[in-house]
Subunit: 303 residues, 2 copies
């Protein structure tokens, strides 16, 4: 029975989880800034948009100040994961830890810091953070969960049940890798092309007269890597791309927001992970490698 | 004997040619803006940097106001070439016309508007335009000239002689295509990667741990296209790249300046020309095609 949840990182995704879960569980937030913790303790966490309510949370910058949770949701960006894993080391030995980062490799980074059972997740939710205590819930799309290593599947189902009670869209899967890889190939391509071109994820990405041909080739390369790595994809990334671009309002991928703000991107766990998987599986991925090299080039241009 | 030269377009390259040539010939400038013409007529054209002097020029926005020249140097950017060719149509029937645009295809655009003998040129000069009447001469690198169609070679040598007397570095070549293609492959790659990454042409472009691998593969593709098109390159683009990055001060390719200013780029005559040449020669050029698609994507992001 999950009674206490600790959400690590209260950006968009962390805030959406914490705000919703506060209605059905005892929620704490581990954040980096003292003023962020103070604001959350004082005013709670407001969710607007698809759902409207204010959730009460207990926030701190030190895990030692929080009650021992049954479940830890690690919701930092990939770029903050090493620090978050370091902060959790030695804490909450009875908790299950769930990763939500884009790309591949978040589980290994946490495993290096503790023996917690780990559940992997990918989420398609999106929102906008208006302040430290207010997040707008924009896309109420699904979060998918699956066991990592020998985490029992009923633990995964229990977490999925909790998220569903909190009115989030969720699916438990006995094997997450097919879903994780579908999103990996989608994200490596869409985030990468968006970051380099400056275009949000819009109709250009599916138009064969424009970027559609390139996007399809990048995804075909990704699918070849997945096949060589022994992963059968859950969803076809190209169909995900076509569907998403038909949604009407163009989505701004986080990697595009990062390069426009001159921030480090999640390139290593996304594009880097895909290119390294291609190398391990000994398949060529020249276009994905080009994207990876150029995004790192873009990061090098900040200084 | 070349006594009168008309320079069309007084950006960096046009100003460098006009300023230098004014010392050894009667120079006129055809520009787009009335205030630019007036300023040039009033104060002349100042060259600073490698050379220091002020050249007298006669400027106008209408070719009908200029004396008939023996030689027309078309120095607009590729994006202004259609308009310039249209303005020249029906004028200066006894003149030879020289193109200086990057990439491939400038000659065809002019031929469609008149029967002038055409000389092709590629130039490696660079400078900075400080005002409408002041250009700084930064790199005193060569300009290469060659005949287009049946233009007699002695006409090319005569122009080269004039440029040399004006103290510009110049070389006449019986066949310019090997040089034009070397620069095409160099520019398609270096301008394209710079525009997408935001990096000036610096050491990253030759570093195998960074963008060097991608740059070399892009150039290898370009060389395959040249070979299939029957062109033997004058200089190896990869060696040009390594040499240029060893120069010390990083160069800002014009396509990078264009995308940062939100201006149309020269992508069609450079990357577009290379990709279309690959299609005609029936060779694959997936990386160059990716660059071409993403630069057009970047242009689409302006609006």
């Amino acid at each position: 029975m999950i009674e206490r949840v600790c959400v690590v990182g209260a950006g968009v995704i962390g805030s959406l989880f914490a705000g919703h879960l506060a209605r059905v569980a005892n929620v704490s937030c581990l954040v980096r800034r003292e003023d962020h913790a103070r604001a959350l303790n004082e005013t709670g966490l407001r969710v607007s948009g698809r759902h409207e309510f204010v959730g009460r949370v207990a926030a701190a910058t030190d895990p030692g100040e929080l009650e021992e949770p049954d479940l830890v949701l690690v919701c930092t960006k990939a770029t903050g994961l090493e620090d978050a894993a370091g902060a959790l080391a030695g804490h909450f030995p009875r908790a299950t830890v769930m990763t939500t980062q884009n790309g591949l490799g978040a589980e290994e980074i946490l495993r290096a810091r503790g023996e917690w059972p780990i559940v992997s997740a990918v989420t398609f939710m999106s929102g906008t953070k208006h302040s430290d205590t207010h997040v707008e819930y924009i896309l109420d799309t699904e979060t998918w969960l699956g066991p990592y290593e020998d985490t029992p599947y009923n633990r995964v189902e229990e977490i999925a049940g909790l998220l569903a009670r909190a009115e989030l869209e969720v699916q438990a899967l006995p094997d997450l890798r097919p879903a994780q890889w579908s999103k990996l190939i989608f994200n490596a391509t869409v985030n990468g092309v968006a970051a380099l071109t400056g275009l949000p994820h819009d109709v250009h990405f599916a138009d064969p007269e424009h970027l559609g041909g390139l996007v399809e080739e990048l995804m075909t390369e990704g699918k070849r890597v997945a096949g060589a790595a022994g992963v059968e994809l859950r969803d076809d990334p190209w169909e995900m791309n076509v569907l998403a671009t038909q949604r009407g309002s163009a989505h701004f991928p986080s990697m595009l927001e990062d390069v426009e703000a001159g921030r480090p991107t999640e390139v290593e766990l996304i594009n880097g992970a895909l290119v390294r998987a291609a190398e391990r599986a000994e398949v060529d991925a020249p276009l994905q490698s080009a994207l990876y090299a150029m995004i790192r080039g873009r990061e090098a241009s900040y200084s």
